[in-house]
């Protein structure tokens, strides 16, 4: 029978098919763990006298709480320090591999899996973090879980899961210069809404998706949850295999060949039926920014702050009024005229090496606006090392940016990297919720290119605002497709 990519991966992991309304019991190939959502799960195991069933399918890293400065000194915040120490104790007690702060393999959990070659096509991947959807970029079925489920996976390496529906999101055409995968996903969320994907696994497909690098695909799948979908997937192809080959945990020899043969079957059949379909034309896209307090409240940068009185739907109008009040924005203001105080470049959405390269390309030889603080936080220690090997750190420092150690940082402000009340950011992260980046902080979600241009001009900007001289080494304008671009 014809099937979708998601159904194929699901079916290959059924330990026990649910009967009489009970969910299927699925096997979990890879369980990623971090310090925030795991302490109560390990405590549950301890109380029940249960071991971790498969420590060899489990890996932990410290990311949410970790400072990005002075990482060689004791963590100043006592509760953060306790939580991280708790993870260290639990990992030691239960035999779980842990990459701690200061270790070269430490970093945001969704960067660590892919860079070690642990994330691969056809797997089920879970983590107590909603951005686990990131790993779907490899053709894995990957989704965030709550702490009770973390405990369940630790104890049984399985999860009972209710069936999902499938949604195909086809992005045709070619991205215009200056637009990136971030703009694709922000446009998708604005189109289907923050609840549009609820109950669905999204599959991104089409010419514009195929043209994206692995890292750009991760950005798209990462934000599936912001459309309400637990998981987003992209069928694996040569780009995927190329990214994986030679990574520390990638299969080798005959195992690699067997894996690739299987991975090539992981695509939705031509006659597969999706429960819903959405189509987008990439060439219509512009750089996208959010103006409100959920990721669905986004518009092209050339637009103006919406006028709530013009919104017909009452719920949406009230939500828009509330959002504009929180954001301190006047209806009708052109988005390009909004000044920001902080530019944050980082997170599991846009803190990878390609993101840093594309920012470096724009800011090289320039100075940031005096009024703006710029934070560059690589998604992992390895990404930081790679950036330094390429000289990107010096470009950022010369620009006037701060070059930090790896972690989640200002994406959610669990460490000292926070916005002050009323402070406004352009952020390459994934959530613009009230208080997300610090109590009273105001967040505009943007792509790395928009973040770079905004850091230069001090107001929300695209690279087009910088004049025609921002180009890739081959003379063409900057887009995600310049994945292999090296700084000149």
């Amino acid at each position: 029978m014809a099937g979708t990519l998601a159904e194929k991966v699901w079916d290959a992991h059924i330990v026990r098919r649910g009967t009489e309304g009970a969910p299927d019991l699925l096997y979990i190939d890879l369980h990623l763990v971090h310090e925030v959502t795991s302490p109560q799960a390990f405590e549950g195991l301890r109380l029940a006298g249960r071991p971790v069933r498969r420590p060899d399918l489990t890996i932990a890293t410290e990311d949410h709480n970790t400072p990005t400065l002075d990482i060689d000194r004791p963590i100043a915040d006592l509760t953060s320090r306790t939580q991280i120490q708790t993870l260290r104790n639990n990992a030691a007690e239960f035999g779980v591999r842990l990459h701690s702060l200061g270790d070269a393999d430490q970093g945001i959990v969704h960067q660590v899996g892919p860079q070690l070659g642990l994330t691969m096509p056809g797997l089920t991947v879970v983590c107590g973090d909603s951005h686990t959807s990131t790993h779907g970029a490899f053709g894995a079925l990957a989704f965030g879980i709550g702490t009770s489920e973390v405990e369940h996976v630790l104890a049984t390496q399985t999860l009972p899961l209710a069936p999902f529906k499938t949604m195909a999101i086809t992005v045709d055409g070619t991205l215009p210069p200056g637009t990136t995968s971030k703009d694709i996903i922000l446009a998708i969320i604005a189109k289907i809404g923050t609840g549009g994907g609820q109950g669905y696994v999204l599959e991104y497909r089409g010419e514009a998706i195929r043209a994206l690098s692995m890292e750009a695909r991760m950005t798209i799948c990462n934000m599936s949850i912001e459309a309400g979908a637990r998981a987003g997937m992209i069928a694996p192809d040569e780009t995927t295999f190329e990214y994986l080959k030679g990574r520390p945990h990638a299969p080798e020899g005959a195992d690699w060949d067997a894996a690739v043969d299987y991975w090539r079957t992981l695509r939705s059949d031509d006659d597969a039926v999706f429960d819903a379909e959405v189509v987008l034309e990439a060439s219509d896209l512009e750089p996208f920014v959010t103006w409100g307090t959920n990721p669905g409240q986004g518009l092209p940068l050339s637009a103006s702050v919406p006028v709530p009185a013009e919104i017909a739907d009452e719920n949406e109008r009230v939500a828009a009024e509330r959002a504009l009040e929180y954001m301190g924005l006047t209806p009708g203001t052109p988005l390009r005229q909004i000044p920001v105080d902080t530019v944050f470049i980082g997170s599991c959405t846009n803190g990878r090496i390609e993101d840093l390269r594309s920012v470096a390309k724009v800011v090289r030889g320039r100075k940031k606006a005096d009024s703006v603080r710029v934070l560059v936080v690589p998604s992992s220690a390895r990404v930081r090392l790679q950036a330094e090997a390429e000289g990107l750190d010096q470009i950022f420092l010369d620009f006037g940016a701060e070059w930090r150690n790896a972690g989640c940082s200002m994406c959610l402000g669990m460490n000292p990297d926070q916005l002050a009340p009323g402070e406004r950011s352009a952020s390459t992260s994934n959530r613009n919720f009230e208080g997300r980046q610090g109590k009273g902080g105001r967040t505009h979600l943007v792509s790395p290119l928009v973040a770079a241009a905004t850091a230069i001009r001090g107001t929300l900007s695209s690279i087009a605002d910088l004049g025609p001289d921002v180009v890739a080494p081959d003379g063409s304008p900057l887009t995600d497709s310049h994945a292999d671009m090296q700084p000149a």
Partner: protein
């Protein structure tokens, strides 16, 4: 887990849509390593506002939250469920829940019941006209009752059964351990193992330092 068949308690009208888990409990409260004691963190950013519904005496003892659509979106933090429970909530009614939140609720014995938007409006009207009115959520009859308003609630059959029986998921799954072991015996060799650990060579990571303004030196310092 405690069995849940029916609950009656003061209804709290939360006239907001898209109440994400960052609003239910901000990230700064997630640093605790316990599973209880989160009641002060619930809706922390809004609790400072005297107008906020939970700051009004009639609603303060509430245990049934009646919210707008897309409740519990965003972060997977189960702390959102713990905070609601610790405050005293036993049930949340909404036209639509985020998937992860709904799953987390079921595991913790908090009833997340779907109710049509027009029915939510009816309950809101009663609760706002007569603050302090109780709402009964009845899993057996699959309905919510509030004064003379009686509306259907939707909970999937499996979650309903587990809540009514008070069953623990891990215990249920471990009844099938033989099947899990059998599945594992068929695992293909290309699928990854995290142990023994493989990685690129270890490298020392240099700590970033705070940017401090350059202090005046030499003659300038004397001025």
């Amino acid at each position: 887990m405690e069995k849940f068949a029916q609950h009656t308690g003061v209804g709290v009208p939360l006239r907001r849509s898209n109440v994400d888990t960052d609003q239910i409990i901000p990230a700064v409260y997630l640093k605790r390593v316990t599973r209880t004691g989160f009641e002060d963190a619930l809706f922390a950013a809004w609790r400072g506002d005297p107008e906020f519904v939970l700051n009004q005496d009639a609603y303060r003892p509430g245990s049934v939250l009646v919210a707008g659509p897309d409740f519990g979106t965003g972060s997977s933090r189960e702390h959102a469920v713990w905070a609601l429970k610790d405050y005293g909530f036993r049930a949340v009614l909404s036209p639509r829940f985020a998937d992860i939140f709904r799953g987390n609720s079921g595991k913790q014995g908090l009833l997340a019941a779907q109710v049509a938007q027009e029915d939510i409006e009816l309950i809101w009207k009663v609760l706002e006209t007569h603050p302090g009115t109780e709402v009964t959520v009845d899993l057996v009859a699959k309905q919510a009752r509030c004064a003379d308003v009686v509306v259907p609630i939707h909970v999937d059959d499996y979650t309903r059964w587990r809540l009514m029986e008070g069953l623990d998921d891990i215990g249920l799954t471990l009844q099938h351990e033989a099947e899990i072991t059998e599945f594992e015996s068929r695992r293909e060799p290309w699928r990854p193992l995290t142990l023994p650990a493989k990685h690129l060579p270890p490298v020392e990571i240099v700590a970033a330092r705070p940017v401090v303004p350059t202090l005046p030196t030499g003659d300038d310092a004397l001025v």
